[in-house]
């Protein structure tokens, strides 16, 4: 089980991710904007961030750089509606990438891979 911060400006997607990740045994917190995400990161203790590249009036990649700069041990998985995100080289700072889908399997597997690599999972009662 891990503490995951989901950052996406679409409420339906936040809701979907929250339910699916919770079902998979994770503790999920959601943010609708980068500003809100920064506040939550400062106040909470997270193991991983699931981050949308395109946020309303904000760039997920700017938030990614901020996280890497200030919390360089925090893994980040980028979620994008399109596969061209790698054309922006800033996206290469992320630890994992998934293309958004109504089937959460790929995201769950990517979370497992990244957390496994970092050894960042916690005991269920933590």
């Amino acid at each position: 089980m891990a503490r995951i911060l989901v950052v996406d400006d679409e409420s339906s997607i936040r809701l979907f991710y929250a339910e699916e990740l919770a079902d998979a045994g994770h503790e999920v917190t959601t943010s609708a904007s980068a500003t809100e995400a920064v506040e939550k990161l400062e106040g909470g203790d997270f193991d991983l961030v699931v981050l949308d590249i395109k946020l309303k009036n904000e760039s997920g990649l700017d938030l990614l750089q901020k996280i890497v700069k200030e919390r360089h041990e925090m893994p980040v998985i980028l979620c994008s509606a399109f596969s061209f995100y790698k054309d922006d080289f800033a996206s290469w700072l992320a630890d994992g990438y998934v293309v958004k889908s109504s089937d959460p399997t790929e995201l769950l597997e990517e979370i497992k891979r990244v957390l496994g690599k970092k050894g960042a999972t916690r005991p269920a009662d933590a």
């Binding site: 679409e10 339906s12 997607i13 809701l15 979907f16 991710y17 339910e19 699916e20 079902d23 395109k54 750089q65 890497v68 700069k69 360089h72 041990e73 509606a81 399109f82 596969s83 061209f84 054309d87 080289f89 800033a90 290469w92 700072l93 293309v99 958004k100 889908s101 109504s102 089937d103 959460p104």
Partner: protein, 537 residues
């Protein structure tokens, strides 16, 4: 009165005069011609004049005076004739020379003609000529070419060959250019090296000849103080001529000419002729040099144009890709997010419904249709992506040169000396151009920002089935290349240096990791190997 000479006879035979040679038969029948051509010089005629004198003929003194004066005039005419013939030969020679010098743009051809003219018997006939030219920066007068034998044996051989073939000056020059120019350069290399002088040394005899725009003749009897024994020893002669080559007040170079084999004195006539000759030579040399430089500039421009064309095509391609990317990403975003919301929430809702709920069938349909639409979208986006593959064949030297050109001003400001050594004729590498450009830029910036780095070498070379890009800096290894996430575990990485971290990820994903070696003599070497075959990726 009986006359000994035949001057009084209108017509004579060979018995009357022994001084008329074969081929001069017209003198037998022409009294006037005979008197002027022969009788005036004939001892019999002199005897006849003495006879007249003995008879106290008042005309004898006058006749004697006229005859002597006529003989003087004749001798003067003869000498002028000889002089005119010699000048005519010189004019022909200079005309032949100037024809080549005025029409040739080829530096080697001009040099060959000029140097052959000085040393060939059909030209000025001096034994040896050495040419020194001002360098491009106009800092030095450097030895450029020497022509002539270095010893008597070689001289004998050359003169025998020339004698056997009886070639014109132009043919000699052509032969020289084709078969001897390069070997003569090598033959006199050591001497030419030693003769080089800085143009700033205004007291040196070479610079004085250039400054005074007049030839200087050095002889054993009158060595100029600055020529000294050193120069004579170097040349191996006591007597030599230094001729300046000046074109429109520009110092082109000098010619040193001497008779190192025959030791024949250099005459004032030689000096005058070479001085006259030096003007067209200097002009032709300057014109040929300028033409050569112009050609170099044209070549550079042609190459730059070709590169520009490639770059334009690349930009066009990138713009198309960017446009396609923009359109498709817009579509993707507009469709995928709501689609994901619909399909995802239907999936979540489904989980909450009991197995018997009759709405499950409808929800399953929604999930299935959403998935179908997602698949169709993926297929469309995948096709758009495949139209413009990121990985292609690229010229690595062009890539490196391009990156370096954009960075060189910055590197110069940082005080970093860069040595660029790109192997010619490399095959194309199979890479993602943008990613490799990004990586090289990131590495260059990283290496040159390490402590104490003020030297960088950038090299490309073929290594088996790969092209190696080797970067060496004299600074310590980049800390950002260590550690799992790009930084050493306990040391925070440089906050702004995301570039290196991205670079490492990219190179790893392309299967071309950067190897780092600490050099024993100090400094660090970074090597990236890029595949040249698709199957090696």
């Amino acid at each position: 009165m009986e006359w000994e000479c035949c001057w009084s006879l209108p017509e004579i035979t060979s018995r009357d005069c022994p001084y008329i040679a074969e081929g001069e038969e017209d003198l037998f029948t022409s009294q006037r011609k005979r008197i002027i051509a022969r009788c005036l010089e004939c001892p019999r005629f002199r005897n006849d004049l003495l006879k007249l004198q003995g008879e106290n003929n008042p005309l004898s003194g006058l006749l004697n005076l006229i005859a002597t004066e006529l003989l003087d005039q004749k001798a003067r005419l003869h000498s002028m004739g000889v002089f005119l013939s010699s000048k005519t030969r010189e004019m022909r020679f200079l005309h032949e020379l100037s024809l080549v010098l005025q029409t040739s743009f080829n530096l080697d051809e001009v040099l060959s003609v000029a140097m052959t003219a000085i040393t060939a018997g059909k030209g000025f006939g001096l034994n040896r000529a050495l040419l020194l030219m001002t360098d491009r920066d106009r800092q030095f007068l450097r030895g450029y070419l020497g022509v002539g034998p270095r010893n008597y044996e070689e001289a004998w051989q050359i003169w025998r060959e020339i004698g056997e073939n009886d070639l014109s000056l132009r043919e000699l020059a052509r032969n020289f250019q084709q078969s001897k120019l390069e070997s003569e350069k090598a033959k006199f290399h050591d001497l030419l090296e030693k003769l080089s002088v800085p143009l700033s040394d205004s007291n040196h005899i070479f610079n004085r000849a250039l400054g005074g725009q007049k030839p200087i003749l050095v002889t054993a009897a009158s060595p100029p103080p600055d020529a000294g024994p050193h120069l004579s020893e170097l040349l191996g002669v006591d007597s030599f001529l230094v001729v300046p080559l000046i074109s429109r007040n520009r110092r082109i170079g000098i010619i040193i000419a001497d008779n190192c084999i025959t030791h024949k004195p250099i005459t004032p006539q030689d000096v005058q002729l070479l001085e006259t000759f030096a003007f067209p030579v200097a002009f032709a040399l300057e014109r040929a040099s300028l033409h050569e430089r112009l050609q170099e500039e044209v070549d550079k421009l042609t190459e730059a144009n070709a590169k520009l064309k490639v770059q334009q095509e690349l930009i066009l391609r990138m713009e198309k890709m960017a446009l396609v990317g923009q359109i498709t990403s817009g579509i993707a975003h507009a469709i995928r997010n709501p689609l994901m919301g619909i399909g995802g929430l239907a999936r979540s809702l489904m989980k909450t419904l009991p197995e018997t709920d009759r709405n499950r069938e409808s929800l399953a349909s929604i999930i299935q249709e959403a998935k179908r639409l997602e698949d169709a979208l993926n297929e469309a986006l995948g096709y758009a992506d495949s139209l413009h593959p990121a990985i292609d064949r690229w010229d690595i030297n062009q890539l490196i040169s391009g990156v370096y050109d954009r960075q060189k001003d910055k590197l110069a400001r940082q005080g970093v000396a860069v040595d660029l050594e790109l192997e010619e004729g490399l095959p194309l590498a199979y890479i993602d151009f943008n990613q490799i450009v990004f990586c090289i830029r990131a590495l260059l910036a990283g290496i040159t920002e390490t402590e104490g780095c003020d030297r960088l070498s950038l090299e490309t070379r073929l290594q088996g089935d790969a092209i190696a890009i080797v970067m060496e800096g004299n600074g310590p290894p980049l800390a950002a290349l260590a550690g799992d996430r790009g930084y050493p575990p306990d040391i925070p990485g440089p906050s702004e240096n995301f570039g290196l971290r991205i670079c490492m990820t990219m190179l790893e994903k392309q299967g071309t990791p950067c190897t780092v070696e600490t050099l024993p003599e100090g400094g660090t070497r970074y090597t990236i190997k890029l595949p040249i075959r698709k199957e090696n990726r």
